[in-house]
């Protein structure tokens, strides 16, 4: 019962904040609401016994990425108003079709999930640091190294892009 209350409260808060991120006029408020949203997602991870992922979520997403967004929003302070495109709703048709396709897929998944038997729940939480580290440094060692290379390339690319003369 307590689990259900926790889950539905967190889910409602996450969804409401996500809608507010998209609808709020001020971009700075939008970024700060996104930080709050990430914090609630971290709470959701914690409620699933994924404490490592919750900590990573707070440190990387809520603190790191949102901070960079806020910096850039303040830096790119609009001086002149942009011209409006003659037809602002020109992609609405494609978007509607894609959204309908995703919705149909979700309904299909829900229907097929009701037919399949649920797997047996494991005894200990799989999100413990030992389990994640064991998987990360044995089966996923090469992707781990590739990810480090990706971060290095992204860092060099960001520095080059932010230089005075491009």
């Amino acid at each position: 019962m307590a689990d259900a209350i926790t889950f539905y409260t967190l889910a409602a808060l996450i969804l409401a904040l996500a809608v507010m991120v998209v609808t709020v006029r001020n971009t700075l408020y939008s970024a700060l609401l996104l930080a709050a949203d990430f914090l609630f997602v971290a709470l959701l991870y914690a409620s699933m016994n994924n404490l490592l992922l919750a900590v990573i979520q707070v440190m990387v997403y809520a603190a790191g990425i949102v901070l960079v967004y806020v910096f850039v929003v303040i830096l790119v302070n609009l001086k002149r108003l942009p011209e409006q495109h003659p037809d602002p709703s020109r992609y609405r048709m494609i978007g509607g079709v894609l959204a309908a396709a995703v919705l149909g897929e979700l309904v299909l998944i829900g229907l097929s999930g009701a037919l399949l038997p649920p797997p047996a729940a494991p005894a200990e939480p799989t999100g413990s640091v030992e389990n994640i580290a064991m998987a990360l440094f044995t089966n996923f060692l090469i992707p781990f190294e590739v990810a480090s290379m990706l971060l290095l390339v992204a860092m060099v690319g960001a520095i080059v892009l932010a230089k005075k003369e491009l």
Partner: protein, 88 residues
């Protein structure tokens, strides 16, 4: 449609950042899915994938915002309808 006021233009200029923030929201949704399925099946591969998704999201955010800053420095605008220099 009514008169186009300044609010319309502000919403348009905000659209670029909102697109980026929405990408982060989508990646978060994927992460929640990965972790939920990993818990359900008792396989920590989902959590490892979530960590990779976070790493890729960081790289994407940094490079994308770097492109925005470089574009703004050259063109003095961040309107997405004017961002067509790399379009084929």
């Amino acid at each position: 449609m009514g008169e186009i006021t300044q609010t319309h233009y502000l919403m348009l200029s905000a659209a670029l950042f909102v697109i980026f923030l929405s990408i982060e929201l989508i990646l978060n949704a994927v992460n929640i899915n990965l972790i939920a399925f990993a818990e359900q099946w008792g396989n920590p591969s989902g959590q490892v994938f979530a960590i990779f998704v976070i790493a890729v999201a960081v790289a994407e955010a940094v490079v994308g915002l770097g492109i925005i800053v470089a574009f703004y420095r050259n063109k003095e605008t961040i309107n997405i309808d004017e961002m067509n220099v790399m379009k084929w």
